[in-house]
């Protein structure tokens, strides 16, 4: 049976690759240090495959039909999408092998657990997958199964729902009949309001409070206190990307290590990196 060997989460804001050097130097240093540590922890866990939970920014699905979750089942993932390459400062496409057998298993096994997942054989990639892969899997050496959620088109899903889906997917991944060592990565957040009236806003108080809840490691308390309303108040249509972190949290027990936090107005996003130690 497959095994979960690492759980990590980080911000995926386009500024991290597109205009990195515009943030204060100490924020740049903190981001580089923390992503290097994430990468070290990832490599030390010797994963055969990364399952990355992110969100689709209206790239793969039009607004009239936005599935709750989508799995990329292709044999190879190529990104970023043309529309995103200039914005992300990634003129050259990256290519990362997929893991179609595991990806298709996730879709079909979830059906048996009453969870509907859409899938795409040719998924397009925006900042959500491209930015974390740039830092954590730059050579594309570790195969990838991307899983995107909708957290920007209303109704925005609740953290409780993300956690519930996380617990189902945890059971699904662990039921995979192969020896694969699987790393899970959540991407998105922290506070930001992409394209809203508070486009430049970073809610440092919310972010530190949220990270403290992760450090305390009491999942029930986090789900009780970190409501969707609080996320939306900290930055509408963006902060709820933290649902991907909460989904990843369902693969863990106990506290997370907060590797860095930067209230990065220059990147227009509360920016953070965390790693969990104990896996469920």
């Amino acid at each position: 049976m497959a095994e979960i060997v690492a759980a990590l989460a980080m911000t995926h804001s386009p500024g991290l690759t597109g205009w990195f050097d515009r943030a204060p130097e100490e924020q740049q240093r903190a981001a580089l240090r923390a992503t290097a540590e994430m990468r070290e922890r990832l490599i030390a866990a010797r994963p055969d495959v990364i399952v990355a939970f992110s969100n689709d920014h209206l790239l793969n699905w039009p607004i009239n039909n936005t599935p709750e979750y989508t799995v990329g089942i292709g044999a190879e993932h190529v990104g970023p999408a043309d529309w995103y390459d200039e914005w992300l400062g990634m003129p050259t496409k990256y290519r990362i092998p997929g893991h179609p057998d595991l990806a298709r298993f996730i879709v079909n096994e979830s059906v048996r657990r009453r969870l509907t997942l859409a899938y795409l054989r040719a998924m397009e990639f925006d900042d959500g997958i491209s930015v974390p892969m740039h830092f954590l899997n730059p050579e594309g050496a570790i195969p990838l199964v991307p899983v995107t959620m909708n957290c920007t088109v209303p109704p925005v899903p609740t953290p409780e729902r993300a956690y519930q889906v996380g617990t189902i997917l945890r059971d699904v991944l662990k039921a995979y009949p192969g020896p694969e060592r699987i790393a899970v990565i959540g991407t998105g957040g922290l506070s930001h309001e992409p394209g809203g009236p508070r486009y430049f806003w970073v809610d440092e108080d919310f972010d530190l409070w949220f990270l403290d809840l992760l450090k305390r490691g009491d999942h029930a308390a986090l789900l009780r206190e970190c409501t969707l309303e609080k996320m939306e108040a900290a930055g509408s249509g963006g902060t709820a990307e933290l649902n991907a972190w909460i989904l990843a949290m369902a693969f863990t027990h106990g506290p997370a290590d907060v590797l860095a936090y930067m209230p990065a107005v220059a990147w227009r996003s509360g920016t953070g990196m965390v790693a969990w130690n104990e896996l469920a």
Partner: protein, 116 residues
Amino acid sequence: MGHVERTDKTLPLNEMMFYVRRDARLRERWNTDLESIAREFGLSREEYEALRDKDVRRLHELGVHQYYVPQILRLFYGASMNTNSHPALEAYKRAYPEETAQAFALVERLERRTRS
């Protein structure tokens, strides 16, 4: 709930943006032939004018998904080096001066904190 809840999911402009972002031929026509793209996708006159005028507030009021508004501006102004002084972001500063001032106050607080 938050600002994103103001999205009109059935607005033709929201449908149009999906296709423009995925189709290089539509993007090539953006700066020369916008009115006919708008017509092809069934935009109302109001939608087209808000788009043409790069009117951030009006686009929000019409129910354009907030995530699409900066993308619209990048189609006009270009997407590279999308820093806080890029023309797309300058348009936001003009549209939402109070919110912008609040956000940049944090930058000043951080600078003071770093110095002290």
